[in-house]
Each structure stands twice: as structure tokens, then as C-alpha cells.
Symmetry: C2
């Protein structure tokens, strides 16, 4: 079972006062932040659909940190996580309902050279230290690198826009609009594109908010603060619903991904402390944890300017 | 020819005073920042060596912005760039001295499925908008995504550590220690690793400093401020020399990559303005520029907290 999540311990009056400070010139009221203690249900997905590349992100675990009065920094010391499914959506067939899974960075699954078709050997090249798939015909190396997932944290009328996933992984759970960054676009453009595709919202980027690396699955989340150009949104094909949530209504017990959980908590903590900052951090599995069991993760390297 | 680079216009006294402010508790003197007006020589590489993956980064262009009294923000309005070589070092043979080039994101160079060896077709999958290489046998899609280059801007004794490249691309030119982020590591760990490999320096990350996307070549630079645990460095195999540079001695006329040029100027500008910030930006080619000619680039989306 997952460990219960405790309340941030912030009063509504305090948050209300600090929202204005965090947003410089925005005066608004804000009720208290109460994070649900409900554990994540593993049976949330009932009508599973096939995945599409553009929105299939961080599939593997879910973090429930324990907050202390020190706020979000307690991420470093205590959190509990469960592994929900081992999957990575790099390779899916658009014409098949079956989900084809490729683990992040498994060099041994690369059997052929994508340029010449020659078979590969798996070896450590001269001058390197990591195992690579090397073509036995042309000699090219099939390098694998982490993927960037880009998305938007959209503030509107003191609320945050979330999307309920209409696809796997994490079907039926809530997330920020986000997806894989494409070749030829910037992270900001990718985040804007994904927001349009998943939430039908035309947004502009305000500021970078967080970079969260997840080495376990070879992904890096880059989340921007953004705002809607027009107050309109509607779910795209990958979302069953889009909704603005007040901070005290965010469904922390049914978020899709640990990165989203961390991002939203960092955001709330910034509101609480009165200043929106940029956050870098690494979501790491605790050493010694077993792949088949519930896991413990930590937010390491949590740093940023003025921290 | 490249356009001359103008002086940042900062006085040594001003910078000296503001270094302390930017570093909060560090008091030090700093002489004036004078950026060279020398154009980049295209004949810098005389004894070219084969490239290695770990350090082969952003090969394609070089930015020389024109500064105004507004400082680094003038990146947005005016800069000049030259395309030096069209190359991307994704695929190199460790056993061959010839450089095998793969353009970033050229789906038409993917001819075979790396999982089953089947031939690919190039088409837009259902529900997507971009051309992909799709296996005609197993149906898997070979997605291509931008790569992250991670590195360190190392401050030591009021100086910055740079490495002279001993490999292509940009052989003989100066850069920050940086290279491709690997599967299974965080950006911070990757930056620390690259610094050790290229500069023999054991560093710790202080704070994220910049994310610079380069959509043209499908790369994103993530640069951290870092400091040496011990005051020791020595060039690794990919560097012919490592040296600490005072800010007024940085060799701006012989830097290896536009991203490094931008990063160092953002850093100097932060020192000048008295506060180190996090910077997001996109290095874009100016619309309408020709592939075979000198180019104009702009730093778009330049933003960050407190900008």
C-alpha cells in the first residue's frame, strides 16, 4: 500500500496572501491546499486504449511524498512509490491495438542497423565505457539517449488546467498537457503544441518552471508556466476531459505520473512561499529497492537559482 | 564574413562590484569584459581527428550577436552566424577514421527496423502529423527525438574553466566541458561525468544555469553552474588543453559552438547585472536564410524566473 500523504500545512489565509506575491501583480484569493490521502488505485484503467506517441509519457511509477513543515524540500528525505507497469512507449504500431513495449535504453533489443540493415553486436566501443549496439557491416553505433517530455502548467483564474488521460499509460488519470519533444522544435514550442493537441488550448509560455530527470526510464520532463491566450480549452483525442482545478481541488490521489505530482507540489510550495522559481531535480529510485515491489524514490539534486 | 562583436559596455569597476552581488557571499575583483571582434577562422581545424560520441556536440554554426546597452537581451534582435559544417555525430564508427554523418531527424535515412530488420516505409502514421520510418514487417515506428547535451560552467577563483577541443567538430576551439546525456543518468550526473572526462575535474553542481534549444540540429543544451571539489583539472583525451579564463580573457573569437557563446555571454551579463539567473532560450535560424550561406540566428523565447 502507498503511504498516506500529509497536508502541506499551509493556511488558506497564508496562501491567499502569497499567491499575489508569487505572481507579482496578481491579486487573488486562494483557499487551503489539502492533498488527498487516498492511495492510488491500480484498477483505474478499465477501458484501455492503444497508446500514441505524442502523449505517452513517464509510465512507470508514482510518487507520494511525505510533507513536513519544511515544505517541498522534504521530497529529499521521505516518499513512497509504487511501480505500476513496466513500459516505455517508444515503439508503437499505429495500425495495431496491441501495445509494443521498448524499455528505455535497452541496447540488447537493437538487433539490426537502421541504416544498412546489418546485424549488430553488443559491445563497448573503443574509447567508451557503455555497451552499445554496433553494426557488424557498416560499423555505425546506434546511440540511445534520454527523451525530453515537454509540457505546460497553465494558470488561469487562480486555477490549473489538467487533462484526464484517454489513452494508456495511466488511462483515466489526470496530468498536465505534455508529450515528447520532436526534432525541429524547441521545448517551448513542443509544450505549446502538446497543450493544443491534448487540451485544445492556445497558450503562450511565461517562464520555465521545472526540469525533472527520471534516469530509470530515460526521460527528462521540462515544464513551463503558461497562460491561455483565450479562455478556451477542450479535450483532444488523447484526453477524455480537461478541467481547471483550484489548488485545493487538485486530484493528487489520481495523478498520472510522478513527475506531474512533483511539479504540482513544487508549484504549490512556490505559491506557499510566495515566489515562483525554477526547479531542477532528479527523481531516483531508492538504492536497494526491488523491481517487483513497491518502491521508494527521492527527489535528488533539487536546486535552482535562489535556493 | 562574420559581423564584428561589440563590447558589452560594462566597466571593470561596475562588474567588480556586481560579481559579489551575483555570487551573494563572494567578494572578488573583476576586470572589464572585452569581447573580441575577430571573426571566426574557418581554417582553425588543421589536424582533424575522428569524432567520439561523448563529446561531439552542436557542430553546425556559430553566433556572434551584437550587444547593446540593454545587455544580453539584444540577442533577440541582432546576431550574425555562419554555417561551418553540416554534420551531426550521431553515428560514428569507432573503428574507422572516416566521419559518418547523420543529419538530425532525417527520417529518410532510417531504412531498416532496428528490432526485426525489416525494411521501413516513410509515411505519416494514423493520428500523427509527422513523417516517420515505419517497419513494413512488424509495424514499429522508429521515433527520433532531440538529444540533450549537458555540461558545466565551472567557476573557480573568479575564472571559468574552458577546454580546447582535441576532436572534431570544432577541433582546436574552446568550449565548456559538455556532451550527450546518457540513458540512466541525470542531466546533473551527465554534466559531472563529462567534466571529469574532458577536463579531469571533479565538480559538484551548484545550480541549473541555462537550457538552450537548437531545433535546427535537434539538440538541447543544459548547462549547470558548478564548482571544483579540489582545485585540480587536466585535459582528457578529447581536450588538448584546459585553462581557467578570467572573464575578460575568454576567447570569444575561438569558441567552438554558438550555445557556448550564448551561455558565456548570458553568464557575463548576469555578473554585470548582479544576479545569476536561470535562462531558457531557443537558438533559431532566421527565416529565409539560405543553407549554403552565412546565417542569421536569434535567441528566441529568452525567459526565466524574474526576467
Amino acid at each position: 500500500m502507498l503511504k498516506a500523504v500529509q497536508n502541506l500545512g499551509s493556511s488558506s489565509v497564508f496562501l491567499s496572501q502569497l499567491w499575489k506575491k508569487a505572481h507579482h501583480n496578481t491579486a487573488c484569493g486562494l483557499s487551503s491546499v489539502a492533498i488527498s490521502t487516498n492511495p492510488l488505485s491500480n484498477s483505474a484503467s478499465t477501458d484501455r486504449r492503444r497508446r500514441r506517441h505524442a502523449s505517452t509519457i513517464e509510465p512507470d511509477f508514482f510518487i507520494l511524498p511525505v510533507f513536513s513543515t519544511r515544505g517541498i524540500r522534504s521530497f529529499r528525505e521521505s516518499r513512497v512509490c509504487v511501480t505500476r507497469s513496466e513500459s516505455n512507449p517508444d515503439a508503437t504500431s499505429p495500425s495495431s491495438s496491441s501495445v509494443l513495449v521498448q524499455s528505455a535504453g535497452n541496447v540488447h533489443k537493437i538487433n539490426f542497423c537502421q541504416w544498412c540493415g546489418g546485424s549488430t553486436k553488443h559491445d563497448i566501443p573503443d574509447g567508451e565505457e557503455k555497451m552499445r549496439a554496433i553494426c557488424t557491416v557498416c560499423g555505425k553505433i546506434a546511440y540511445q539517449n534520454p527523451k525530453m517530455v515537454v509540457g505546460c502548467l497553465i494558470e488561469h483564474d487562480k486555477k490549473i488546467l489538467l487533462c484526464k488521460r484517454n489513452i494508456e499509460p495511466s488511462y483515466g488519470l489526470w496530468t498536465l498537457p505534455a508529450g515528447y519533444m520532436e526534432i525541429g522544435e524547441s521545448a517551448a514550442d513542443g509544450a505549446i503544441r502538446e497543450t493544443w493537441e491534448e487540451a485544445g488550448a492556445d497558450v503562450e509560455v511565461v517562464s520555465p518552471f521545472a526540469q525533472l530527470d527520471i534516469p530509470l526510464i530515460g526521460q527528462t520532463y521540462v515544464i513551463f508556466l503558461a497562460k491561455m491566450k483565450k479562455p478556451h480549452f477542450s479535450p483532444g483525442p488523447e484526453s477524455s476531459e480537461c478541467r481547471l482545478f483550484a489548488l485545493d481541488d487538485i486530484p493528487f490521489d489520481s495523478l498520472a505520473f510522478s513527475s506531474i505530482f512533483v511539479t504540482l507540489n513544487l508549484y504549490i510550495d512556490d505559491i506557499r512561499t510566495g515566489r515562483l522559481k525554477f526547479h531542477y531535480g532528479t527523481i531516483n529510485k531508492r538504492p536497494g529497492s526491488s523491481p517487483s515491489d513497491m518502491r521508494a524514490f527521492s527527489l535528488d539534486y533539487h536546486c535552482g537559482p535562489d535556493m
